[in-house]
Symmetry: C2
Subunit: 477 residues, 2 copies
């Protein structure tokens, strides 16, 4: 049997390094690690943070089973003292994170971990994979939802997801990003993402005729009939048979909320023709659902062409974020404690974009008097921005470009999730996360939200943090 | 608590249709469904089938819990009779599948399910997601392994995977496709994929100096030292410090199997320079591991440039199949039984590529006298190709292009996995699947294996099957 405990869902080097820290006296050293990302998928203007609830659950439960220990022992690489330590391992550190649904930007910590070196190291893979995955899908969903201009988007991609978790938690993340529901039933049971569905071609094929299939379905689900009209011929057979079934089965019962679904062919053309046929038949309220390899670009294009689509079902291009399937979050050491003092650490790189922001940090989001977010500022942990005094913004790559701002409000983004190993964060209900995401996205300027060449939102360093970074760069020269 | 039982990892329409089949008397109707794919990722010449072991385990265990039933009842859409049926649900049908590791081609069934309509319908999502995911990653791994021309490839992508299953089963699939190991520890514990690892930048940063970090690591893991040399400056600091640590810690112990890893910068340039420095120091056996956003194109390019890389570590571009993250498997009704006879069914489409191959089918792979595979032939279930008589091949889209073959051997690809609900297939050990994959890939012509414009391998229909298909197309006109 497979061990379902996921403690060993970590990179092997985390274990060899941890054993090394343990044996060389660094195991208890307090460290600060940041999880942050470097680029926004699809060249977008912002990403949507997601995955925190599952990360918190993982860390709260994190422990090593007898089977895990026996497996590691079999590798003949780990000391018995370290294995004994793992046996009673629990996470004892602090974690700060940006709540799910928040629009986020490159180079700001989405998660900061303050913990003994071993603990911080052993959670690296899970922190990354959970946040990278769900943020990727929430970000993609947000793009599609914006493209649909108010029309609902349903997530239909389970069958093309990268495994079970990708299907289920992908549906969750898509909902946070603004989708209206999913086809993935278990995502409803476990996470409260509303599940719905229509019918497959096999339903239509199973019956002696398309009309029989439609009639039977309408009789079974009078309040939930979405008839798939493209099994044989959308306009010559599917739509007329659907109209007949609506008329003969649903109209006599006084039902009005029914739909048709088009899954293939030229959606723009077929939807307009189908719309005219439905209107002509008196079914102006019948909605048209379009599915079939859609993404934000195709949705935008369909609407520009005047496609008569009321609801979009999206599959593979959302659940895999097909056009850009990698969220590039990394997990980097930012500081250590030495004799109680926080000592900032930096990772240098020939590639300046890969140089890290050192130190234990805070992130403030700054809003102008109209309430719009205009910049995030990374500060040293002991700085406070309360909006009472002016603030100096400058481009960290061009520090002579300065701007003094007086009339603004500030909100701290990182909130405590663990304190001394105890979970202190209660994840909001999924619907509340989704609403929060929509509200926070609404606080961004349209220029940040456009798909093509969006404005680069400012993520600046405070003067104090910038100075620390320059000193470390100098010291490493 | 989340329900870990995955019975509801199905599209909601599978449940509404099943309830509909149940209530309208179609529930027990014996159906045949094929899982097949339409296009090979990355424009390649073949794909590698994977995921069958997990699919078989899923189906063997498939059942609905009290929680599942209660959840469905809360939807007020399903009949009590159907819910009672689900309560005692077990899969009772037959399943045939192409074994994992087999090179496969578009439009041939990787899985054929013969089962009562409801059972066949309820497993649709899982059949697709498991085979689509693992076949995607195995196929991508096979491409990267071929690009590396015999050098080992290690899978390092967990942190960028789409969730936990994507990391773990992705590592399994990558191994089947030819990778030599993974960084994902639990993939070793649960599936026997050899896990290994090096060190992170954080290890180097944790110590007072890079040299201290290297020295400590070599002393701890003399037989497994792979030193990461790019934390500060690869050629000025990393490689010299590694050489010093090897010389001072490992040479006195007589150890020789050690490596360095380069994770950033210009790998071609740095690896050649590092190679020269290592050779100069007398460490000709020290291997160079290269990592950092690699894929088959970059690997091929690096080797063309003469990069001195001995081992490649690949991450996000393998575990997400970044350049083409969708394996487009579908699940389509191929036949039903009526009064004991198999009645073929077809799905028509305006797009001729989307018209299905009807009927309960066999797949034969045909080998020429040199042992190379030259075509697959789809046949009706009761046909036999045993290589004793000549066979007529023709292009199903251009049936006048005929070819009679006499000197060949044939092998049936679909093997029984379930018979009457009982699992009759024992999955081979993972190493055997990997070896089988390498051997079977070796039976393909080089022209099918090249990356750019590969030869399109023939997947033909037998005359009998082609005739059935034409008759169904005529009947639907």
């Amino acid at each position: 049997m497979k061990d379902k405990n996921l403690a060993l869902l970590c990179d092997y080097y985390e274990l060899t390094m941890s054993n090394g820290y343990f044996l060389s006296g660094y195991g208890d050293k307090t460290t600060y690690f940041d999880m942050f990302f470097r680029s926004i998928p699809d060249g977008g203007g912002f990403a949507v943070a997601a995955g925190l609830e599952q990360l918190a659950e993982y860390i709260e439960d994190l422990h090593f089973t007898e089977e895990n220990i026996a497996f590691l022992r079999s590798k003949k690489l780990f000391s018995e003292e370290f294995l004994a330590y793992l046996k009673s391992f629990r996470f004892t550190g602090d974690i700060y994170a940006i709540p799910e649904g928040t629009p986020v930007f490159p180079n700001e910590p989405l998660v900061t971990v303050r913990a003994p070196a071993i603990e911080a190291q052993l959670i690296e893979t899970y922190v990354l994979l959970e946040l990278n995955h769900q943020s990727l899908i929430a970000t993609k969903a947000s793009r599609m939802v914006r493209a649909a201009m108010g029309r609902p988007i349903l997530e239909f991609g389970s069958r093309r997801a990268h495994g079970a978790d990708a299907a289920i938690l992908g549906a969750r993340a898509a909902y946070i990003g603004g989708c209206s529901g999913t086809a993935c039933t278990i995502a409803d049971q476990n996470y409260g993402v509303p599940a719905s569905g229509t019918m497959a071609h096999s339903w239509v094929q199973m019956f002696d005729s398309e009309y029989d299939a439609f009639k039977t379905y309408c009789a079974l689900y009078p309040g939930n009939a979405t008839l798939l009209v493209d099994t044989y011929n959308t306009l010559k057979s599917g739509v007329p048979n659907a109209i007949r079934a609506f008329r003969e089965v649903l109209v006599p019962r006084g039902v009005t909320g029914f739909n048709i679904r088009i899954d293939s062919g030229d959606i723009a053309y077929l939807s307009k023709k189908a719309r005219a046929m439905l209107d002509e038949a008196g079914f102006k309220d019948c909605k048209i659902v379009a599915t079939g390899s859609l993404d934000e670009y195709l949705i935008r294009d369909l609407l520009l062409q005047g496609a008569a689509v009321d609801i979009f079902g999206v599959g593979e291009r959302l659940i895999t974020s097909k056009s850009d399937p990698v969220f590039d979050g990394v997990y980097k050491l930012a500081a250590v404690e030495e004799r109680g003092a926080v000592v900032p650490k930096i990772k240098i790189s020939d590639n300046t974009a890969k140089i890290t922001n050192p130190h234990f940090k805070k992130v403030y989001r700054l809003f102008d008097k109209s309430g719009k977010a205009f910049a995030d500022q990374l500060c040293v942990y002991d700085e406070v921005i309360d909006g009472t005094g002016p603030i100096t913004l400058f481009d960290p790559d061009a520090p002579w470009k300065k701007k003094v701002i007086t009339d603004f409000t500030a909100r701290e983004l990182l909130v405590p999730v663990f304190k001394g190993g105890v979970k202190v964060y209660e994840s909001p209900a999924i619907g509340d996360i989704r609403d929060y995401c929509a509200r926070q996205t609404g606080l961004l300027w349209d220029e940040v939200k456009r798909f093509d060449n969006p404005h680069t939102y400012y993520v600046d360093l405070s003067t104090k943090l910038w100075t620390v970074k320059q000193q470390l760069l100098e010291a490493h020269k």
